[in-house]
């Protein structure tokens, strides 16, 4: 009690004298009387007590986060107009993220590095997207009314081109991936006959997808997108013309080069003929082998067998094809 009264009188003494002696003088005054508590203030930082020379500025405190001033019906697109990292003082949501240590809860949003690391889409709320679309509408032209279905688009514009644009914040605007051009076209929309089609497929090899009947050409060898586009169109044209041409050496196409299985002149035909001939040999003697062959081939069982084998080889082994084959064989061998 005495120390505090001493302090207060010392205070009034300094003030009424108009002197600003500061904390040091104050502690000096009180120290002469009693061992006061003026010097033993713990700074809270764990430092030893330093002599305070003059009034020290108080440590700056953080202000209130601006979420407190935000109204519910504020314009969120103004708070996050573009992609920005997560700012806990600007996002009025009580989000938590992190692993709960010691059976606690996930860490709060203030100073949360996990929330700042991940990409956020706070700038792309539905309201923002709606505004952007409304702003971009004047730049767009109308869609042609007659192109109202996918089929119509396919029919009139069979070639589809894809390319990518990249936007990033960095010192350079250029991205080497923008030069890639992908060209897709359905072969059914091209004017190809059988030979041309088969040759085209052989020419492009991997780039043709059988299920969707799509030829995909990806060009990235030139440095500019325009050049790659020209190159892709050039490739398409060249392929088309080349597949229509028939070279001399194409006549040497062997059975191994064939895309589909032909029963004529195959081993299966030979085997069937041999089998049937042997079945018949008991009845007649020497005959014209050609006529026999023709006659044998003309039989409906042989035709059926031919169908089933061709189907089996071309389409693969399924329940149905195997059954068909079995039926054909049974009929052929009169089993």
């Amino acid at each position: 009690m005495s120390a505090s009264t001493m302090c207060t009188t010392a205070l009034s003494f300094t003030r009424t004298n108009g002197l600003c002696l500061g904390n040091y003088a104050l502690s000096l005054l009180s120290r002469t009387a009693t061992y006061s508590t003026a010097l033993s203030t713990n700074n809270g930082k764990g430092f030893p007590n330093r002599p305070i020379r003059g009034p020290r500025r108080p440590k700056r405190e953080s202000g209130a986060p601006r979420t407190e001033k935000m109204l519910e019906n504020q314009d969120w697109t103004a708070v996050y107009p573009s992609a920005a990292p997560f700012k806990p003082s600007a996002v009025p949501l009580p989000v938590r993220m992190g692993y709960p240590v010691n059976r606690g809860v996930p860490a709060e949003k203030k100073g949360n590095l996990e929330l700042m690391k991940i990409p956020n889409f706070l700038h792309l709320t539905p309201a923002a997207i709606q505004k952007h679309c409304d702003a971009l509408k004047p730049f767009c032209t109308e869609w042609p009314a007659s192109l109202d279905s996918d089929a119509a688009c396919e029919e009139h514009f069979p070639i589809q081109l894809e390319s990518k644009e990249f936007v990033s914040a960095g010192s350079s605007l250029r991205n080497p991936k923008t030069r890639v051009v992908t060209l897709k076209v359905k072969l059914s929309s091209l004017n190809l006959d059988e030979h041309a089609r088969k040759k085209m497929v052989k020419l492009v090899d991997d780039r043709y997808c059988k299920e969707t009947d799509t030829l995909t050409i990806v060009t990235e060898s030139c440095p500019l997108r325009q050049q790659n586009y020209d190159y892709a169109m050039y490739l398409l044209t060249v392929l088309y013309h080349e597949s229509w041409k028939t070279e001399v050496w194409e006549a040497e196409k062997t059975r191994a080069d064939m895309e589909e299985y032909h029963w004529e002149d195959s081993r299966s035909q030979k085997n069937v003929l041999d089998t049937l001939r042997r079945m018949r040999v008991t009845s007649e003697g020497e005959e014209d082998p050609g006529a026999v062959r023709e006659e044998l081939l003309g039989q409906p069982e042989v035709q059926e067998y031919r169908e089933s084998v061709t189907r089996l080889k071309n389409e693969g082994e399924t329940e149905e094809t195997m059954l068909q084959y079995r039926e054909a064989v049974k009929k052929l061998l009169n089993v």
């Binding site: 904390n23 001033k69 314009d75 700012k87 032209t141 070639i159 894809e162 605007l173």
Partner: protein, 683 residues
Amino acid sequence: MHFVNVKMASSGVHAGRHIYNKSLIFLNNLELIYPRRALACTASAWQKTALASNGSSEEIVIPRKKTWSKEALLQALTSTVKRDPTAAHYTFQDDSYLTPRTSGEFKLYSLSQESGKAAAKYFINTYPKFFQKDFAEPHIPCLMPETFELQIEEVSEAALVERIQLRKVKAAVDMYDQLLQSGTTLSLDLTNDLLDLICLYGDQDPKDDSDPEQKTEDVVEVQDDPRKRRPRIRRASDIVRVVWKENNNAERIFNLMPERDSRSYGAMIQGMARHEAYDKAFSTYTDLLNNRLTANVHTFNALILASPEVREKYIEKRDLIFELLNQMAEQKVRPNLLTFNAALRALRRCGNMARSQALLIFGEMKALGITPSLASYDHLLGIFYKAASSTQGHTEILQDVLNEISGQSFEPQDPDDVMFFLNAMRVCLEHKDLEAAYRLHSLMQEGENWKLLGDAHQQSMYYGRFFNILCMMEHIDVVLKWYKEMIPSLYYPHSQGMIDLLQALDTDGRLDLIPEIWKDIKQMGHDNKVELVDEMLSLMAREKQSSEVQESFAQCALDVKRRYVPSEFGKPVLEWTANSLGSITSLLLAAEKRQQAWEMMKLFKASNRVPTDALMEDFLSSIKEVQDTNQAVELVQMSARFCLAGTPMLTKRVKEEFVLTEDHRATLSSLEFSSDGNRDLTC
């Protein structure tokens, strides 16, 4: 993904092109006969014509692609973004610790940012060899190091040209002298360029912030702060004043020139007018006329600006201005916007008679087809509304001006454009015209006009005046709405602004909002302003409010009290005044915090302030409710110590209303005696 018409993509084979429009059958034949020549394009073309010939009336019309400038898309997207009223200025970090909360912090942070940029620029320009590698694609020229050093050392014309381009005035003059001494004759154009340079800078090297050697020059006339950056503080010492010296280099070179043309004269006149040698400017002009040369429009502009300085009386000034304008017409020099703005600016110094002349000038401008800029309107307002004149309800001019320019978006054309909004708002404030203020504000938000508000200081003055007029004239709800919108994101009000706001609250009886306002005051750093805090406390303590409000007031009062107590860091923020002590005590009493109120009473003595009688009466009534006789007697003792006039009243009341013991009675009687006896000595 975009669909491409294959027709456009074909390369080279022309045969198919002109068959595109032919009929179906022909194409079919063509396919069969010339399979090689059939194009990929004909397939789709065939299909396309097939569609057309199939009888469907639809044709595929591919619309023309629109083109736009490079920034148009971005500008369209930015138009969707409006201002966020809770955010600070965009240049600052958006964090609750790092955003500036007071106007001092705002200045400090923006200055430090600019200083950082200037330091970086300094390093890049001083050591350019470390910054040669160019990372930016496409090339950004303003980020590369600039050379300010002179490359050419030998005496030649190219060296002179280089020095002129790099704005090295002294070096250019030296080089010129050396060239003359070595006997080379210089072309008139080059000499004119040199004259332009010297006259523009008034024969001083331009103050270059990045060059530390400049500051050590001993230049007497120049009073200028080399650290001058945004925002500027308008002090007289900050303004650069370069004065035209007698017989300086410009005059010397001018006199040495073998022949002078109108451009040389023009340079001299403009330099003299710019650097306050007005009489010389006019005498040079008469020389020019004597040599039968014509001056150009910039020269005339400079002369018109200088004309108020060379004449004393209003009539003479006006006559001079008009004489110059007539001469301009005679010499067939076409005036531009700056001419008229100069004339209006000069007319501002011509007193009241300038009003009709100003309207004449506006008529001339319209006749010539020059649209007035904001500076013209600013000068017009300045002519019509002199700063300390009595308000005569002359807001018609302001209304007319607003009618004329409403809805227009202006571009900066004259350096004085930025003063328009400021002065117009001042006029609105003086005439208390709220509607005009609203119109002005909506004009400011139109298009690009926000760019013409000026620097941070001018902006804060504009918003300060706007808020002032709102507080004076508008209903409190509207005021609070604007308060939330403008503060602190647009400007930081000073303590007078907060006092206005408190008075507006008082007018509309919304004193219960004061604790909220106190939080804002604390945040803005105005809690060390004695008048503001006193005003706030007295407003709170004046009337009795409902109990929750009283409670919040008491909490606020306790918070305020902390400001008066010396903290561990040194002096207390505020000094006690009688008003503040009394207000806080009565607030605590009203919220029935008697113990704390009692402590406050002790502080009266400690800080040598005297409580009012009314306060003592209130306290007594409050004590009566708890019937604490000891405290009542102590109160009377305290009152006696302060020699208050109401002490006998108090004593009487205590005797009547309380149950007193013998001790109490004795104390009271002694008090009466002592008060009677010692009145002359202690009081």
